[in-house]
């Protein structure tokens, strides 16, 4: 199952070139980043339950994110990860932190390239 398939499942496909705004129901394909120079931040959680809690929190807050299968390039787990546009970091990470739902690890994806992404704000 591709990341795009997971995105299609729960989100309306974003139109290329438009920023993700307003709600978790918007979304974009992680394997075809929008043409705005941003990467995507992939948040990997310790447990399946934790990601469901995070998903619920972000949905209730109307925050922009999509769920994707955990990229095998960075983590061998078989569940889901939260993907957000880099520019939405300050909307989403503080909300997760306030709820005690910080991810176990995070990665910045640009195209097929992944790099560790610091969660302490230095990214």
């Amino acid at each position: 199952m591709s990341a795009g398939a997971a995105a299609r499942r729960t989100r309306t496909a974003a139109r290329p070139g438009l920023p993700l705004t307003g709600t978790g129901k918007a979304g974009g394909r992680q394997d075809s980043p929008l043409n705005d120079g941003q990467g995507d931040i992939i948040l990997v959680f310790a447990s399946n339950t934790r990601i469901l809690e995070a998903e619920e929190l972000l949905e209730e807050g109307g925050l922009p994110f999509i769920l994707v299968p955990v990229p095998k390039e960075v983590n061998p787990n078989c569940g889901l990860a939260i993907s957000l546009r880099e520019g939405d970091r300050d909307l989403i990470l503080p909300a997760l932190a306030d709820a005690g739902l910080m991810p176990q690890s995070a990665y910045l994806r640009r195209g097929d390239e992944f790099a560790g992404y610091p969660l302490d704000g230095s990214g």
């Binding site: 199952m1 997971a6 447990s47 399946n48 569940g79």
Partner: protein, 383 residues
Amino acid sequence: MIYLDNAATSFPKPEAVVKAVERAMLAPASPGRSGHAAAHAASRTVYRARKGMAKIFGASDPERVCFAPNVTWAINAAVGGFGLGPGAHVLSGSLEHNSTARPLALISGASGIEWEAVPPGPDGVLDPEEFRRRLRADTRLIVLNHASNVTGALAPAREIKEAAGDVPMIVDTAQTAGSVPLDGMASWADVICFTGHKGLLGPTGTGGLCIREGTPFRPLAVGGSGSRSESLEHPDFLPDALEAGTQNTHGLAGLAAAAEFLLAAGVENVRAHEMRLTGIFMEGASKVPGLAFLGPGPGDPRRVATVSVVMEGISSSDLARRLEEGYGIMTRSGLHCAPMAHRASGSFPGGATRFSFGLFNTEEEAVAAAGALGEIAAGRGRR
């Protein structure tokens, strides 16, 4: 049919529960194992059940709720979590079901652990002071059946916990969850064990533990968890640590619906209804000559809607048979998997005939059950 065996398993189940199970079985169901839409939907179903149970017990974090096939499994896991060894002293009540008694007997026999059961008072109810009096420096754990599945006696669990001080407590809520408001229990009980198919009105094969933060736990079984797949070590975090193998998504879909049903109905309203029926039944049955109740008597609120009786001149099993054959009343006779409770109540080995009321029973059924006892006792029972 008059179904008065809700302490064994509740019947009927709310329609929403039946529908939820059906819906779940019509979809792929592998929670937490894949990234596709169906797997995610199954994960959300299990999460809904987790949230529902957290609300029932007043737990702020659904991750502290771990599912298991039943309360027996949950109690075994809970006891094992404390890693007790030789020299440890464990207290329990004397009204325990075998679901707690057998795990305690096993570890006390094999591991040099001393297990002491606290008897109830003359009124059939456990006294917190008796627990306090038996506390020792080496007391490591208290295991408590919150309500007896035989006598219906409701244990003053919070008061016993307060008397126990820092000694951790496992509470078996098999006979209270869904029937008695427990929405503050998670703040003081170290481990709450529950089953889904009795008062919680869910399907069989569902149950679990709610573990307070800071309480030790260890897996009873290890295996697939959908997390840390790269490691041969089972995850050490909740709920994954205690949920090896694919969860019972079909059953948990029903449990989620059941919890939502109960929370909407109000467990306090369920409690009021069941106790009203219990009062009607006990008042009627108390007029039957030669009939004795086990546990708290008529009018005593320290009970749940489970009432066991012993009738002079007829065995518990024959009485149950007469009730079913003559009146269509379904009860349970014998020892109810709880020989300790029968010994403590003076009804061992003959046992008793148990009437247990549920949310869907009616006042007419309670009256009919008491009336049937009266006719049988008077030798006028239907055949």
